[in-house]
């Protein structure tokens, strides 16, 4: 499958920005079942400073916002060729030690509710158990947009009983780590079958199983990723993999709008 | 050089100059009090005004006496222009720009601060005042001596000098402005002994009695005094002298940096428009108006220097 992606992020500020930097994690990861062609990142009213690979292997662009700007637009896009792997990425590789993915973070800290959920997991194999965890997560946290807060923790989402894909991924990761498995957050694109325009980026989880290696699970859609899923960035939780992380002086009163198109190329 | 360092040098030497100016005012006030009969509160008030610290003092609600005025000028921690706080400010900035100073200059500054802190730890009695002021004058002079004797004549020196002369010009202009009414021609005709005392106060507070006598003899004439303090390029505390020095130092910077920034243009304008006329033109404009205009130009130049040389982010 070949997907054509175009993603526009626009920040508007009521007060001009005095100075600002943003880390962008918006370039799909090369390797595994993905090959990326002609990917570009363009900035309006900002300047790219540098690029590097972070400690999870993500491609990061650092941009500086123009002084006195009130509107910054980041446009990225290109084509990604995907090979069906049923969500199985295989053996862990790279310098990031596997144990790091067992670390609890602020957002994936296991509280009483997360632990209770994790205890319900059963199955004959790790793979079975993870599929069950995916279902349990989806049952415990109903998918509902606009009713959750972006800074919710896994525990918050279980307590509230609803959330979005980010919350599903956090709950899944928190439980997997309770069960002793390395797990990570994935931020990426999902092509919905019935349309080109997407509301937002998608998020799911990956867990590293002793025999299969890394395997993806999308609790929001109760499935493992297929060729409609494009992996962009990974990390211990959302804060490591978020598409834009920034700091600025000035530029109060931020408004954000996002347009994403994902279409299949014939 | 870092913008921050230029800023630190500028302020280190402004504070040093301020410490000296405030000391001189204390000595002037003390001198006046000794040689006059009757209440001197009004005189002390005008000294505090001259130092630009009257409002701060008034806000404390303290009664104005000779003692309270001297203490406020000399060692109050609430008065940012007191001798002690100025020396502390100079030393704090010296610490900040330590890498730009010679060891001698830094040590002289540090020693000056340690001595001032020791001498001004407690209220200074009237009896000890002359000796204390003497030591402080000596210590600040040592910093100047080390500066002139050991520092390279480069941009470091230029920023130190610009700070010195901006503070000094500001001080002279302020003294004149507080006392401008005693220099007005309409008062001249009176020629009372009170005026003589006022004129002497002015000259004393800028260490200019000797220089004035040398130039004009023993007769005080307010127009001569105004000319001497504003336009006489030989008098090291006159506005003309200080502004010329600032212009010179800015032009050395321009030569080093290879650009002529806005501040240089502004200072040239100031010289041309305000310091190249004769004293009668000053009085025609009105001495107070004239001084206000000069003070506001100087403050604008100070802000422009900050900007041109990136003192702050």
């Amino acid at each position: 499958m070949r997907l054509k992606i175009r993603h526009t992020t626009r920040y508007q500020f009521e007060a001009p920005v005095h100075r600002g930097l943003q880390q962008l994690r918006v370039t799909p990861l090369a390797g595994g079942n993905q090959s990326v062609t002609g990917w570009s990142v363009e900035i309006d009213q900002g300047t790219k400073q540098l690029e590097f690979q972070d400690h999870f292997g993500n491609h990061v662009d650092l941009i500086a916002l123009d002084t006195d700007t009130q509107e910054v637009t980041i446009t990225c896009g290109g084509e990604v060729e995907l090979v069906e792997n049923h969500g199985v990425l295989g053996r862990h590789w790279g310098p990031t030690p596997l144990w790091l993915y067992k670390r609890q973070t602020d957002r994936t800290k296991a509280g009483v509710n997360v632990r209770r959920l994790a205890r319900q997991v059963e199955g004959d194999s790790d793979l079975d158990r993870m599929h069950m965890l995916k279902e349990l997560t989806a049952d415990a946290v109903a998918y509902k947009t606009g009713a959750s807060e972006p800074d919710w923790t896994a525990e918050d989402a279980v307590i509230e009983g609803h959330g979005v894909c980010q919350d599903h991924a956090h709950v899944f990761i928190a439980c997997a780590r309770v069960l002793g498995l390395p797990a990570r957050y994935v931020s990426g694109y999902l092509m919905m079958d019935d349309r080109t325009d997407q509301d937002a980026m998608h998020a799911w989880a990956e867990v590293c199983l002793p025999d299969l290696g890394w395997v993806g699970f999308d609790a929001s859609n109760r499935m493992s990723p297929d060729t409609r899923y494009v992996r962009v960035a990974t990390g211990l939780d959302y804060s490591d993999a978020a598409p834009v992380i920034g700091t600025r002086v000035g530029g109060t009163g931020e408004a954000l709008s996002v347009e994403i198109e994902v279409a299949q190329q014939q | 050089m870092l913008g921050k360092t230029a800023n630190g040098l500028f302020w280190m030497y402004r504070y040093l100059e301020r410490a000296e100016n405030t000391s001189r005012l204390i000595e002037t006030g003390q001198r006046m009090a000794l040689t006059r009969l009757g209440s001197s509160e009004a005189e002390w008030k005008s000294i505090l005004q001259t130092a630009g610290v009257w409002h701060g003092f008034e806000a404390t609600g303290e009664e104005l006496t000779k003692e309270s005025a001297i203490d406020w000028l000399l060692r109050s921690k609430q008065n940012p222009s007191s001798v002690l706080m100025s020396i502390e400010g100079a030393r704090q900035n010296a610490r900040l720009v330590r890498t730009a100073l010679t060891l001698e200059t830094w040590e002289a500054t540090n020693a000056c601060y340690m001595k001032a802190k020791e001498l001004l730890a407690r209220k200074v009695s009237e009896r000890d005042l002359p000796a204390t002021m003497g030591v402080i004058r000596q210590r600040t002079a040592l910093v100047r001596g080390a500066t002139h004797g050991t520092m390279m004549r480069n941009d470091i020196y230029n920023f130190a000098r610009i700070g010195t002369f901006l503070e000094r010009a500001d001080n002279t202009a302020r003294i004149l402005d507080v006392k401008y009414y005693v220099l007005l021609p309409s008062v001249m005709s009176v020629g009372s002994s009170i005026d003589n005392v006022q004129w002497e106060t002015i000259l004393r507070s800028v260490s200019a009695r000797g220089g004035f006598r040398m130039t004009y003899g023993n007769q005080y004439d307010p127009i001569d005094i105004a000319h001497f303090l504003i336009l006489d390029g030989r008098m090291p505390r006159s506005l003309a002298f200080c502004i010329r020095k600032m212009r010179d130092n800015l032009s050395y910077l321009n030569a080093t940096y290879g650009e002529v920034p806005e501040s240089s243009r502004k200072i040239a304008d100031l010289e041309e428009q305000y310091l190249s006329r004769d004293i009668s033109a000053v009085f025609d404009q009105g001495l107070h108006d004239y001084l206000q205009a000069v003070l506001s130009r100087m403050s604008d130049i100070g802000a422009q220097i900050e900007k041109d040389y990136r003192f702050y982010e």
Binding site: Q49, D54, V60, L62, W99 | Y257
Partner: protein
Amino acid sequence: MDQNQVFDEMWGREENLRAPYGLFKSWFDGEEPKRLRAKQREAEELFRLTGITFNVYGQAAAEERLIPFDIVPRIISGLEWQRLSKGIEQRVRAINAFLYDIYHGQEIIKAGRLPERMITDNDAFLPHMIGVQPPGGVYTHIVGIDLVRTDDNQFYVLEDNARTPSGVSYMLENRETMLQMFPELFARNRVQRVENYPSDLRSSLAACAPSVAGSSPTVAVLTPGIYNSAYFEHAFLADQMGVELVEGHDLRVIDGRVAMRTTQGYKPIDVLYRRVDDEFLDPLNFNPDSALGVPGIMDVYRAGGITIANAPGTGIADDKAIYSYMPDIVEFYTGEKALLENVPTWRCSEPDSLAYVLDNLSDLVVKEVHGSGGYGMLIGPTATKKDIAEFRKKLEAKPGNYIAQPTLALSTVPVFTRAGLSPRHVDLRPFVLVSPNKINITPGGLTRVALQKGSLVVNSSQGGGTKDTWVLED
């Protein structure tokens, strides 16, 4: 402590004058005590004037205080020093190799020589450094190895300082002061020079510049500012190296580099000798509330645009929990036995060790794994029953936070007192400079001395003083 157990570096154990002190002794005997007392006062005046002060942590009024200086030099023979410096060099090489491994393949863990949990549970491990190639392959550009001596030939490493070791300005100023006050001593004794340290530091740092730097790299020192306890040292080193002393707000990321705001605009920095802790270095990547750092500097570093000295994340190598594995670490990376010994250490995280430590608290020194500056430690032999009881509770609550060591009979060196020479316990911090092709150890280092009779605490924050340290040319 029983004085007979203690090795004195001037007199040995048997009141036999040791050779390195021979010339000093004959000079001292010919001096009037009154003159020396005057000299001692003069030295203090010199220090005060120069402004060599530090601010004491944990005290409300940040008064600047002097570290007391003692005029009797601590003297080490050339041969002793040769042996020591070999051990130091070996250890510093191992520390750098360890850091590379920990942030790349973690072979030492895979080989079973270091338990994984020593890293996984360790806050000093900085994930942002994973996979990063520091310019020139150097992690610890400046290292201080704290040594203590217990006998003629017995030195122990007390701790490694691989983050931002301080105190080198005292080493230099102590020598400068001695040269000014007692020139005749240096005419008699051939003392190895320490004065080259600042220029060595500059060239060592420049040799680690990133590939984007030109032929003459721009070096700068980053300080938290004038209120930091070691500000004097930061200014001193910048001054002596002839480089700019910058604060976070002087710097920003411009054109992909970290640049400093000069009177003529922004100028890129190639090598930043930072005296700001990792946590405060970059509010974009670490503590967002830090006003001391530079947003994005870590990104410039990861993109190869700047050298940060020491590299972020080096704290994992001087962590007290890792310390007890140093002999294994040295062996693993150099293939040789460690030349310098560690102080025997009980890791309270291990149940058997904990039991032993709890049984012997009154004989042991117990330290917090992450503490520094002599705070939060128990010195068993001098502690009261109440201190011990209180510490026992802390230890039982969080054993993993502590390690314990025997109280060593630290060597003594005489100090000059009203009553003449009198022995006091000392330690030694040699300073090591690391560049891609060279490890440079300044002969001697900083000798810290516990000025209170019998005290073993040499930290300046707890009443310790310093001495000039001589290594003789043999």
